[in-house]
Subunit: 499 residues, 2 copies
């Protein structure tokens, strides 16, 4: 649970005002990737976004890659747990007590501000992390910060819990929408170990919505009140962090940035020897997550694993890396990689009075946890921004073909002479194994332009020769190169280019 | 939005006490399909369930089939919208005003009951739908119904709204967790028509969680407070319900039950001629949904489309069919098929002041809606129950291979002589294209028994001949027949049996 903002996220705060973010988001809305929720209604609260038709397909491809490269490759188990959990679970996790932001309410006009953000805005300086309420009050007094609305002095910083409360049943029993998916994993883990014959170390994966009641979200799709996480919690015996299975990663180069310096590619072996990584287990999972983003199409040099200093880490975390990606809004955190120690399972043991230990080589062990907590929506944004390309004549999304939402567009050259019928037939047959679109409206140039913006890697044009010789023109999106391919060989031709 | 319970659901109310439901759910928990949420905590409120490892895979296969047979086959667009929506949306939809159940609170001990259920329980008779609050009070007085807890008389029926309220931001702005996914579709539809160049008729699909704050859910996984829906909303021009595209369904036999009588298979043509179905559009979508469940493995004779009478239909619905399936808990509603008229888009137009019309052949049309609103969790339950088979020697899940969560298990005959290594190699290679498990613990008989319970259709056993002759034994789950297959031909052999 990355509860506090990292410096890189602070940079991102001002990001959405940059032209590139706006350009990418405009294209994303226009082409049906994502757009603000309930678009037809006025005054919809900030922080809610919807996925359109291309967005749903894009997210599916991304999740499939996550399943293949992480869940399946590491023999993890994926589960899908309730989003609403009883209060006791979040008492144990610490969210009821401390998942909060400092706020100040104007005693005169009742406007409410987030204290640290307001001080930052007025002083143009970063506010230190984790101050006490009285310290915020002092800073406001020192800097003569008044209510932006009515200009009266501000004081009396309070805490605003960022969980959404829901009341269950007619008595309104306390429960909360989860602020992270992983608590569902923790509280199910004793049952799963018992019934599914699992052994340590074991990764548990979950994809789903989480919810945080941000005070005033201003970062567009990069900070939402309702968002997708893909979380992996690896439960392990803390005495066995150097198993042979982790050694496949030893020669892999992780881009570690220790503090805020430039990242240096370093083999896992060298990082272990230098003490930057505490053990092979951590090295192995950092290698899995970095190589996942490389496979998704991000250039290695735009990815870094930033090691967090003591003050930046959550209180339960003994070692933490943020996987960050270089974007127009600064280095953007996509994954929090946290060594959570036995904090979670110990707290759930105490509050639930259940046994969370697991047998390992005949001994009962309270597992430790290493997590890879991924923000899905901002990962998809980062992939789109990375793919967003403009040249003199056009804008296109240079997405890797394997992750593009729609893989092929089929166009009849003209809307007559039997070409639409033939093109529709080819389209339907390609739809069996791929995601295809059919388009016959406008000039062929306009159809190419639309499909370039949608990120479709291949366009198939059906013309007179298709009828006479059984061939079509296939145009590749990035190079604009065209090739004649036999209709019968089309599925194979496309599939060989989609891996 | 099926807001009231149908008679068939009432039958299901007592269902979970039947042995078969319990047996199926026990197996489902034991094998990791689904189980109660936060299992390690005491006193977790009813109505929340989690999917385990096999459940996640099973749900994925089911959703993929839904995408293939409905979304893709009908050229629908799938979107994924926010679960939290502002109050105005649910004022428009009618949920703020009338999505409620009658409750009565004991003036003495403050116990709360659902009025209609309590009357049913005490009188052992069905309570008519849609009574006024005073009528419930009268029935309680007539039947001398007292508080089950303190035996004092009950009266003063009130309404309890079944939406979960959430407060957004520090001011706690009113918003709700959606009680159905479709409102997100309706409120996005103007934006999607405008930007995605869509034409009427067009189906919009959405898979996701919905939330209903049931007063006292007692039906296990069949009635949850948080549940998955897969909803399809077809927007169409009400003057064009007989397009040629709908005619592919004319010869298909729909199992229509008019009222509570036995279903009769009837071609769509005949149902149209007899006036049971109002138009070809409705016939076409009823055919799509019935054939989907047939493809998922339910016998046609266990599926019926029950036409609802006027009193059973939601007030905005002009024609409605419930797709129901025969189970041990009675006929179970899986899909509400509703002709919602222009109710939704008209109400959203009024409240949002936006334009919801769509251009069709040069004219502005306010689309009508036909919906297929599917309960995913209960559909998966119905498939498991249908597959649940016991004979003298074993219990197995006879799931269709194409929908089974794990398709193949790989076992070394003994844990020595190089067999585990060979089996692990075969397992890893099958994992590339399928979902496989590897198991080397216990006798081969016990491993078959476990995989039968998990519904795995094929088991591959690696023995001495695998090393010497490159062949394995493949055992088919239902027939228990065994066949020798070459390792090199295994992927093809399996794939040909999975379609």
């Amino acid at each position: 649970m990355p509860e506090t903002e990292t410096p890189s996220q602070k940079t991102a705060q001002s990001g959405p005002k940059l032209p590139k973010y706006e350009e990418v988001m405009n294209l994303a809305a226009r082409r049906g990737y994502f757009f603000r929720a309930a678009d037809s209604y006025p005054n919809v609260p900030a922080g809610f976004w919807d996925y359109g038709p291309l967005g749903v397909l894009f997210k599916s491809r991304y999740v499939e890659l996550w399943r293949k490269r992480l869940v399946k490759a590491d023999e993890m188990v994926e589960i899908d747990t309730a989003q609403i959990l009883p209060k006791a679970v979040f008492v144990a996790s610490g969210h009821v007590g401390s998942f909060s932001d400092p706020v100040v309410e104007c005693a005169n006009c009742h406007a409410i501000y987030r204290a640290d953000k307001l001080i930052e805005e007025k002083t143009k300086r970063a506010t230190p992390e984790g101050l006490q309420d009285a310290e915020y009050d002092a800073l406001m007094a020192q800097n003569n910060i008044v209510c932006s609305n009515c200009k009266q002095p501000l004081a009396g910083t309070k805490r605003f819990n960022m969980m959404f409360r829901v009341g269950i049943g007619p008595l309104g029993e306390d429960a909360y929408l989860r602020p992270e998916t992983c608590q569902g994993i923790f509280v199910d883990s004793p049952f799963l170990f018992k019934t599914q014959r699992l052994k340590l170390p074991k990764g548990f994966a979950q994809l789903g919505k989480s919810f945080r009641n941000e005070i005033a979200p201003r970062q567009g799709i990069l900070r939402q009140r309702e968002f997708y996480q893909a979380e992996i919690e690896v439960l392990f015996n803390p005495e066995k962090t150097d198993l042979p299975k982790f050694e496949v990663a030893l020669d892999y180069k992780v881009n570690i940035a220790d503090g805020d310096v430039e990242a240096t590619p370093l083999t896992v072996s060298a990082a272990l020897a230098g003490g930057v990584i505490p053990n092979k287990l951590v090295g192995y999972y950092l290698h899995l997550i970095q190589s996942f983003y490389e496979a998704a199409g991000l250039p290695s040099e735009d990815i870094r694993l930033r090691k967090l200093g003591e003050k930046e880490r959550a209180f339960y975390s003994t070692v933490a890396f943020d996987l960050e990606v270089r974007t127009s809004v600064g280095w953007l955190e996509l994954v929090a990689c946290n060594y959570r120690s036995d904090y979670d399972l110990r707290r759930h043991t105490e509050v639930s009075k259940s046994d969370y230990t697991v047998e390992d080589d005949g001994k009962k062990v309270l597992p430790h946890v290493f997590e890879l907590s991924m923000g899905v929506d901002r990962s998809l944004y980062a992939l789109l921004e990375n793919a967003y390309t403009t040249d003199a004549t056009r804008t296109y999304l240079a997405l890797k073909p394997s992750i593009a939402p729609v893989q092929v567009g089929v166009f009849p050259l003209v809307s007559k002479e039997g070409l639409p019928e033939k093109a529709a037939e080819i389209y339907r047959s390609l739809q069996q194994g791929l995601d295809a679109t059919y388009d016959e409206s406008g000039s062929i140039g306009r159809r190419y332009a639309r499909s370039d913006e949608a990120g479709i890697p291949f366009c198939v044009t059906v013309d007179g020769e298709t009828l006479s010789a059984g061939t079509v023109t296939v145009r590749e999106r990035d190079s604009k190169l065209q090739e004649r391919v036999k209709v019968s060989e089309l599925p194979g031709w496309l599939n060989s280019r989609l891996d």
